[in-house]
Structures are given as structure tokens and as C-alpha cells.
């Protein structure tokens, strides 16, 4: 097992949001933006009055890889699904295919993606690569969005350890009758 924790060719460690800790400060998106050539791979879900970050789940059977007509979306030897920048034509097939709306220019009906103003990358939808440059080879390292999170809401966990941390892969839970109130 390497640092990202491969199980049968797919990643075992994923970025999970604990809804009960997110203070909606945007630190994750900012860190992602500055470290990925102004192409933030974090989308936001407008959950009513809350605007919560949504990070790629690195699907075991990734629809974005299946549908990409240019073979730009690929899985590396660690299981990380990433986008090859110079193969991407910006067709948007991956965005249509993504079941979680992470690869999307729209979230909850509102434009939430922050687009690069660069001529090459400005039309492309960014893709989370789990900060391979930072995480590979360093057991203690975590993706930049996780490291940046001041509240400890984003965590980088093994899917088998997540239940012990009272997290499921869809994140933490909100309380009773008010879905926006944190515990």
C-alpha cells in the first residue's frame, strides 16, 4: 500500500467533509485554486443557506473516465483519477457524467465554480488529483484542501476507518429539524 492507500487499483483514502465542523470560510477552495493553476477542483453545493465544499470522491468505477472522448481522464497507478490538461478539449462530458455534481460549472442551480481566466484552461472543468505532488511519498501529507481547513472539517481518511470516525463517505450529519445547524 502506498501513501494514498490503493485497494485493488482504486484509492482507499478519500477527502471527506464533516458537515458538523464546516465554517464555510472557503479556505479549501482558495488553497486548491492557488495550487492548481487557478483551476479549483472543489465545487460548492448550495445547501439552502449553507455553501458547502464538495470534493471529488475518486469513484471506484469513475463515470468521468468512462465518458471522456479524449482519454484525458485517466486513473494513475495509485488509483487517483486525474485529468491530463493538454488532452482535455473542454467538451464537458465528464461534467454531465459526474453523479455528484463535483465536475460541474453549476451547483444547486447557481454558478459556483470559479473559472480560470487563462486562455487555455479557462474553458476546462478542473479535476481533483488529491494533490498527488504533495501526498505521494509522504505518509503524513494530506491534500491541500484538507491541510488548509482551519476547522478540521475536511479529513483525508481511509474508507474503512471513516465509520470509526463517525463519518460516512457522504460526510457528517446535520441535526434534527434544522438542516443548516451544526452539532
Amino acid at each position: 500500500m502506498n501513501t494514498i492507500g490503493t485497494h485493488s487499483g482504486v484509492v482507499a483514502k478519500r477527502v471527506v467533509l464533516n458537515l458538523d465542523r464546516c465554517i464555510e470560510c472557503g479556505s479549501c477552495a482558495s488553497a486548491c485554486f492557488t495550487s492548481h493553476a487557478n483551476m479549483p477542483a472543489i465545487s460548492f453545493a448550495g445547501a439552502g443557506p449553507a455553501l458547502l465544499p464538495v470534493v471529488c470522491r475518486q469513484c471506484n468505477a469513475a463515470p468521468c473516465v468512462e465518458v471522456c472522448p479524449a482519454d484525458a481522464m485517466v486513473r494513475d497507478e495509485q488509483g487517483v483519477v486525474f485529468r491530463r490538461l493538454f488532452r482535455c478539449t473542454g467538451c464537458g462530458s465528464c461534467a454531465w457524467a459526474c453523479p455528484f455534481g463535483v465536475l460541474s460549472e453549476q451547483g444547486a442551480g447557481v454558478p459556483t465554480s470559479i473559472r480560470s481566466t487563462d486562455r487555455l484552461t479557462g474553458h476546462q472543468v478542473a479535476k481533483c488529483d488529491l494533490c498527488r505532488d504533495r501526498v505521494t511519498g509522504d505518509d503524513a501529507a494530506v491534500p491541500r484542501c484538507v491541510a488548509a481547513c482551519p476547522a478540521g472539517a475536511l479529513v483525508f481518511v481511509d474508507e474503512h476507518q471513516a465509520p470509526q470516525a463517525r463519518l460516512n463517505m457522504l460526510g457528517g450529519r446535520t441535526t434534527g429539524d434544522n438542516p443548516y445547524k451544526r452539532r
Partner: protein, 541 residues
């Protein structure tokens, strides 16, 4: 280690080159540290395309480049009738001390340390209370929390310790007093019903219910509400209370009283205060201003010499002022409201390019190292004032002792126990957010800040937005009197109807509610104002 000095968290920074002129700031690799959007933006500011790199002057409304010597001469020639240096108070202590020494040798200038007026008032209150300043690391040891204002927006980093404590002890009381319904309100175990402008009354009620003898402090009547009584009783049983405060512009003018009362409450309940100022060295500025005998901002702006030079601070943007002739010369790393309205503009080093000492948590001195050297020809604030003094033929500098940073400001502030502020029916407040404020100018120049937060948000309650037919993210125009600003609607579940909260970190939002002088000539932070919201115009003012 280089650090971000934009708030009291002073997060460690690493710098990575991303191209010929590109830099990226992030937390050091493999460190379990965090960094908010303000810290992430610093790398963008170092080589920003709008960075001021050479002096310029404005003559008959037109800007033209001048040599550094000519720009300095223009200032010095007009300083013979006296000059006021308005120095950013959030600079390292050594820079402030060096500027003070050169001003003393020059004799002509009077020095004013500029920090947010609301921060200054709040700190004077906490200083007078004698309360301990809590470091972030000790917050997790506290068994109750009182958050006043948008403290988590001012310093997102302090959220982690509180959340860790809550995870360990789920029943930990977390009381929130915030008419602006910042994000802490979503986590509160006890939310005190606080009308706009009613922070002091709410703190008074909570303190009274928690066992503080507020009558002995001078408040004869103690307002009581059910929510404040419940919150006070929840805090009363704690052994160590942490009071987190953020003094926001456009909320109330009674921050000094609030700071004093909150500090007294914290002291009574065995804890302390954590003041989330805009900038890391505001407490040092308050203590150094007292020790150095600098002039207050109100005095510096209301009378005295005709020549005012702003060094490193966007004083006009901060106050929401837009009058030409208030500040004649401005030195800044990036354009801001003050440089727009000055007649002489000089380049200046970013705070991230200056090494020095910051006073954090009341007693800890933290050394920061520059991320990079300033660009060629760009001076530090002390270097600039030295050049001005030398142009005025000052040749020798008598070394002066470093002010004692551990000495509290001993002056007990005059409290206004009977002060009551009547808010307008529909009140517009300003609220602090994790981006923008303090990046050298009020307006963020960082790439993410410019792309994601290029316009201010205006938060409305869900009911009010529905009543007005407004949706989340809808562009609108917020109007106050004859002034207006474009903003995006954001729904806020915890906000009460009739209240709107506009992002604080923009010069244009502050211009809607500028700071004013009161009857005694004191400069007071803005208070909430009446507002209207309309559809997006074809062109906003």
C-alpha cells in the same frame, strides 16, 4: 519562519515559485497547519500586476511618474508647516519603533498608529478589564465559550480548538451574541436574542445572569431576556470561560464598554479573552501608542498639520471616507482608496516582506521572517520615513529604548453605562469574512479573492429574501441614502428579518456607512444604517 500577519492566528507560511513571476503561499509541507484565504492570497500579492513599484504624483487631476527623490521632496517641502505620519499599526514592533525614532529626530512630524477604530476601542476595554489574553492553543482547555461578533470570520483558525473541545465534551456551552448571525451562530448551544446595536445590552444581561456584579461596575439597570438568562446560567457553572470577540465596523460604537464587560466576565469565570483583530499586531499598537505618546487618529485627521502621509494603511478605505485632500501622500504596496485620493503615491514593502516581532495573545512575542525581499527600490515603512527625514536634513538618529510591550494600557477608559443605541427599523450591518480584509488594502488582490469574492455578499434572512422575491446568489444593489453598492444575495438561516449584513472587507461597502466624529471629537466606528435593496442596475455607482 515566515508567517501570515493578517490576523492574530499568525499562521506559518511556505512560499513556492510557480513561474517566472508567480508565487504561491501555503502551509509548510507535512505540517498539520492550516491557512485561510487571506494567507493563500499573499503569494499573489508579491508579484501582483498592480503592485506599486515606482512613485507617481497627481497634478491637476492627471497622474505622472516622478523619481523617488522628487516624490520625497514634494512631501518634505510641504511638511514645513507640520506633517502627520499615519502609520499602519499592524506592522512589526521594530518598524513602529524605528519610525517613531525617526519622527522624533525629524521633529516636524507627529505620529499616529492606525488600526481599526473598533479594534482599538475593544482592546482598550479588554486592557482595562485586566483579563488574561488566551492563546489559541489553550482554547481547547476551556469548558465554555462566549462568541461576540463574527470572531470565526475574523480568524477561522480559532474554530478548530473550540470544535475539538465540543467533540470531546458535547455539552460544552457555546453562547453567541451576534446580530449579524455569523457562522458561529450555526454552532451555538445558546443564541442570545440580540437586536441590532444591542451587543452591550446582551453582554450585560449574560454577565449579570452569569454572576458578575454589573451594578458595581456602574450599570444601574440590567436588561434581562430569557435567552440571555439561559445563556448566563449555562456559563455560570464553568471553570474556565473563553470569550472570543471581533469588533466589526458598522455594528455599534460601544466596543470599549463591551471589551471591558466581556473581560470582566471572563476574569470572573476563571478564563480570558481572545480578541480577533484585523491584523496581528493591534494589541502591540495600542500599547506602543500609549508608551510612545502618539496622537489619536481622530486628532490626526481633524486638525493639526495640513500634510498627512499614510504609510502602509488604507486609512480612507478603512473609515469609508472618499474626500480628496484628507491624506496628501500615501505609500502602499497595492492601490487602495487612500492612494486613489492622494496627490503623491510611493511604493512600499508588503508586511510579508518585512521581518520583525509581533505581540500575540497578550504576551507571546513571535518573530516573523520575510517571504521575500521587497522589489528593488521599494522601501520598508521605516526605510521610507528615514528617507523623508534625511531629505529634511536630519542626519543623526538617537537610539530610543524599545517600548515595554508587556505593559498594559493602564488608563481605565471612561465607560458609558447609560449609553443606548437605537437601531433603524431595517438595519444594514457589516460583517467580517475570511477573505479580503487586511491584504494590504481592504479590497483583496489575491487571485482567488478577486475571482470568488470580487463583489461583496449581502446576507438576508430566508424569510426576507423570499418576501422580496430574491434568490441565493442573485445580484442586487444595496442602497443607503444616495450611495449604492452592487452585491450578491446570500441566504442566512440564523439572521432575523429586517437585518442585512454586507461584507466588511471592501472600501465601497464601508463608504455606505463611514466612521464619524462624535460630539466630543472622538472618531467612532459606524453604526447600523437604514437600507433598501433593489434589482441589479445597468451601472452602479
Amino acid at each position: 519562519m515566515p508567517r501570515c500577519t493578517l490576523c492574530p492566528a499568525v499562521c506559518e507560511l511556505g512560499l513556492t515559485r510557480t513561474g517566472p513571476d508567480g508565487w504561491r503561499t501555503e502551509y509548510p509541507l507535512s505540517e498539520d497547519r492550516c491557512i485561510c484565504p487571506r494567507g493563500s492570497a499573499i503569494g499573489d500579492l508579491v508579484a501582483h500586476s498592480r503592485r506599486i513599484l515606482s512613485p507617481r504624483c497627481r497634478t491637476e487631476g492627471r497622474w505622472h511618474s516622478v523619481s523617488p527623490a522628487e516624490a520625497l521632496d514634494r512631501i518634505v517641502s510641504r511638511s514645513r508647516g507640520g506633517v502627520t505620519i499615519l502609520l499602519d499599526g499592524n506592522l512589526p514592533c521594530e518598524e513602529i519603533a524605528a519610525v517613531a525614532a525617526w519622527c522624533q529626530a525629524w521633529k516636524a512630524p507627529q505620529l499616529c498608529l492606525v488600526i481599526e477604530p473598533a479594534d482599538e476601542a475593544l482592546l482598550l476595554g479588554t486592557e482595562a478589564s485586566g483579563a488574561e489574553y488566551l492563546p489559541s492553543s489553550s482554547l481547547a482547555d476551556c469548558d465554555a465559550f462566549l462568541v461576540i461578533g463574527g470572531a470565526l470570520g475574523a480568524n477561522p483558525v480559532c474554530a478548530r480548538a473550540i470544535l475539538d473541545r465540543r467533540k470531546k465534551e458535547p455539552n460544552t456551552p457555546w453562547v453567541v451574541i451576534d446580530p449579524g448571525a455569523g457562522v458561529a451562530a450555526k454552532f451555538a448551544t445558546h443564541r442570545v436574542d440580540c437586536p441590532v446595536g444591542g451587543e452591550l445590552s446582551s453582554v450585560l444581561a449574560v454577565a449579570g445572569a452569569a454572576g458578575v456584579d454589573v451594578r458595581a461596575l456602574g450599570w444601574s439597570s440590567v436588561p434581562q431576556t430569557a435567552s440571555a438568562t439561559a445563556a448566563g446560567k449555562a456559563l455560570a457553572g464553568c471553570k474556565k470561560l473563553a470569550v472570543l470577540l471581533a469588533a466589526e465596523h458598522g455594528r455599534t460604537s460601544l466596543w470599549r464598554e463591551i471589551g471591558f464587560l466581556a473581560g470582566t466576565l471572563a476574569k470572573t469565570l476563571g478564563g480570558g479573552v481572545a480578541v480577533q483583530t484585523a491584523g496581528a499586531n493591534a494589541l502591540a499598537a495600542v500599547r506602543m501608542a500609549s508608551a510612545l505618546g502618539t496622537v489619536p487618529l481622530a486628532q490626526a485627521l481633524s486638525d493639526g498639520p495640513a500634510m498627512r502621509v499614510a504609510v502602509g494603511c488604507d486609512v480612507l478605505g478603512m473609515l469609508g471616507w472618499a474626500e480628496e485632500g484628507t491624506v496628501q501622500a500615501a505609500a502602499a504596496p497595492l492601490p487602495n482608496r487612500t492612494t486613489e485620493l492622494a496627490e503623491v503615491v510611493l511604493p512600499l514593502a508588503l508586511a510579508a516582506e518585512i521581518k520583525g516581532t509581533y505581540l500575540v495573545d497578550g504576551s507571546e512575542r513571535i518573530q516573523t521572517w520575510p517571504l521575500l525581499s521587497p522589489p528593488p527600490g521599494v522601501l520598508t515603512p521605516a526605510g521610507l520615513v528615514e528617507q523623508l527625514a534625511r531629505r529634511a536634513r536630519v542626519t543623526t538618529l538617537r537610539p530610543s529604548p524599545q517600548p515595554d510591550l508587556s505593559a498594559r494600557v493602564a488608563v481605565k477608559p471612561e465607560l458609558s453605562p447609560s449609553a443606548v443605541e437605537d437601531p433603524p427599523t431595517r438595519a444594514l450591518l457589516l460583517g467580517r469574512q475570511a477573505s479580503h480584509a487586511g491584504s494590504g488594502a481592504l479590497t483583496g488582490y489575491g487571485a482567488w479573492q478577486a475571482a470568488a469574492c470580487g463583489e461583496p455578499d449581502v446576507q438576508l434572512s430566508i424569510e426576507e429574501a423570499r418576501r422580496m422575491g430574491l434568490k441565493d446568489h442573485q445580484p442586487v444593489v444595496v442602497q443607503v441614502g444616495g450611495r449604492s453598492v452592487r452585491a450578491r444575495v446570500r441566504l442566512a438561516s440564523e439572521l432575523t428579518g429586517g437585518t442585512a449584513v454586507l461584507s466588511e472587507g471592501f472600501a465601497q461597502t464601508r463608504a455606505l456607512m463611514p466612521a464619524r466624529f462624535d460630539r466630543s471629537g472622538e472618531l467612532v466606528p459606524a453604526r447600523p444604517v437604514e437600507f433598501t435593496i433593489g434589482g441589479e442596475p445597468s451601472a452602479s455607482k
